[in-house]
Symmetry: C2
Subunit: 154 residues, 2 copies
């Protein structure tokens, strides 16, 4: 195996040592996982394979690729899940290894219009569109995978 092709890894980083969720798609630069968030079905994450701390530390070509993929995931949650709004964030305070949260939001979900990290509205469970995402996972997950392969190769 070429040394240059191996992702830069750090021994004590959870996103270097594990996929970080249920793998949807992977290429040499990044992977996409289903975060399996109990409150937010369809919450996707793009994880950069190399151990890079901050978004702006990517080389420009990698930044472009990264945001093409994030935009692709955003379009997916808007078009397929019929999300009312997409939320995008890269925080990394707990795990400082570049990853992007792509979150489908619904006007009646348990935090809307607050961010998903705010205090939840009491007594709100999954809303119908979120339940539908869970119920149709065996359909949309392979469709998303095929879509990413078409757009970003293998």
């Amino acid at each position: 195996m070429s040394q240059a092709a191996a992702p830069l890894q750090q021994a004590n980083c959870p996103l270097c040592q594990s996929l970080g969720g249920d793998l949807v798609y992977r290429n040499s630069r990044f992977r996409v996982i289903d975060a399996l968030d109990a409150d937010y079905p369809g919450f996707l994450r793009l994880v950069w394979n190399d151990h890079v701390r901050e978004f702006s530390q990517l080389q420009r070509d990698d930044r472009l690729l990264c945001m093409d993929a994030v935009a692709h995931l955003e379009q997916f949650v808007l078009n397929t899940f019929k999300a009312d709004k997409a939320n995008l964030a890269t925080l990394g305070n707990v795990v400082p290894h570049l990853h992007w949260h792509v979150i489908p939001r619904f006007v009646d979900d348990k935090h809307f219009p607050a961010p998903v990290w705010a205090a939840a509205k009491p007594g709100v469970g999954l809303v119908p569109k979120q339940q539908a995402i869970l119920d149709t996972r065996s359909t949309w997950l392979p469709a998303l995978r095929a879509d990413l392969v078409r757009a970003f190769g293998t």
Copy 2:
């Protein structure tokens, strides 16, 4: 005035009708504001001038420009404010007009490692590096403005 050059605006949108903060920089495509967040000095926002709802609805060239500028702001908060971590997000649940939050985070700040939208740790005010951002605003703000003019024109 050319019709094409006028930003797309919506009558009931606060980010179409006002700058949305203290203006640092503006060009024909986007502006940068100091959010004047009392808990997070140096919290910057990039606001797209046109009324665009979702990041992925930008044309690709505009997306590239937008993220070049966001990465530029991120480097600024890391290098100038010596932030321990940068946080980036575009949510828009309350104001669905494309804007990016660029937030300098410190390991002892009032939410760290949680997102700034989570419940605050009780009794934590501004930490010394945040107070320093406030105290040096008359220095860094014009430097940031000059830096953005150099990088993104007028």
